[in-house]
């Protein structure tokens, strides 16, 4: 089990890229972090996930 955006998620994904696919973010412009460290687009396929990881998946949003 891992934590995605503050919620527990059961996943079969082994990498950040697989997790994005599994959650349906495939084509979306998103930014990702694992345990408070950024995971850049080009690093996602090689970033392995581990039990208990805290993942953030953020999207462009209105801001001031």
């Amino acid at each position: 089990m891992i934590i995605v955006n503050g919620e527990s998620v059961e996943t079969k994904a082994q990498t950040m890229a697989e997790l994005l696919d599994e959650l349906g973010y495939d084509d979306m412009p998103v930014a990702t972090a694992r345990n408070m460290s950024v995971v850049r687009k080009r690093e996602r396929a090689d970033t392995k996930l581990a039990e208990g990881d805290r993942i953030e998946i953020l999207v462009p949003m209105q801001g001031g």
């Binding site: 349906g24 930014a31 999207v59 462009p60 949003m61 209105q62 001031g64």
Partner: protein
Amino acid sequence: MSDQVSFYGETFTSRLLLGTAQYPSPAILSDAIKDSGSEIVTVSLRRESTGGKNGRAFWDLIKALNVRVLPNTAGCHSVKEAVTTAEMARDVFDTEWIKLEVIGHADTLQPDVFGLVEAARELVSQGFKVFPYTTDDLVVGEKLLSVGCEVLMPWGAPIGSGKGLNNLFALKTMRAHFPNVPLVVDAGIGLPSHAAQSLELGYDAVLLNTAVAKAGDPVKMAKAFALSIEAGRLSFHAGAMEARDMALPSTPVLGLAFSETF
């Protein structure tokens, strides 16, 4: 057009940096940006439950406007959060520009200036071009410049308060002390007259959001801000008269009827 403002080597005609939050609809946001003439808009990163669909729609809307984006780290209360958010923003928005906010107080949203300097130092070392949201404190301004910031964005009043320029003395002092640094009043502006006043003080630009987004007619207010900023800048160049305590007649006294000279 020679009177342009420059941030990190890029020049702009408009001196209005506009936030994109809290508008009644995407269409009104889009029209407000167009009518404001703004060439730089702020954006953020957030969690989203719809698999990124809203995020993509928003990002597509902004990209279609052909403006420069300035991502922010709004809501970050620690250096680590702000730095990580900036890194994530760079990855998704593909820009080294970052409006750096490190919030120190929940009620006033006052910047944590100690964390701000620390985060700015780290981000500059990573190649970011940092736009720090700061207070009007001179020493903090100097520290931010010394770690590599080339713009300072002091608050006029707390974010979203619409109170205008709370501390004219401090803002004037800052302008005088940093004559060659682009200075932007960021936060607290509620009216076009506040924006005009900022430009009259010699500030290079203003950054605002709520004043337009929460106006009765945001598109009209966006235009009002554009005009007021232009007026304020012209006024700054024109050079204001000196204020006096007592009246001084503007109509010539010489030749006044019914007067005796004996």
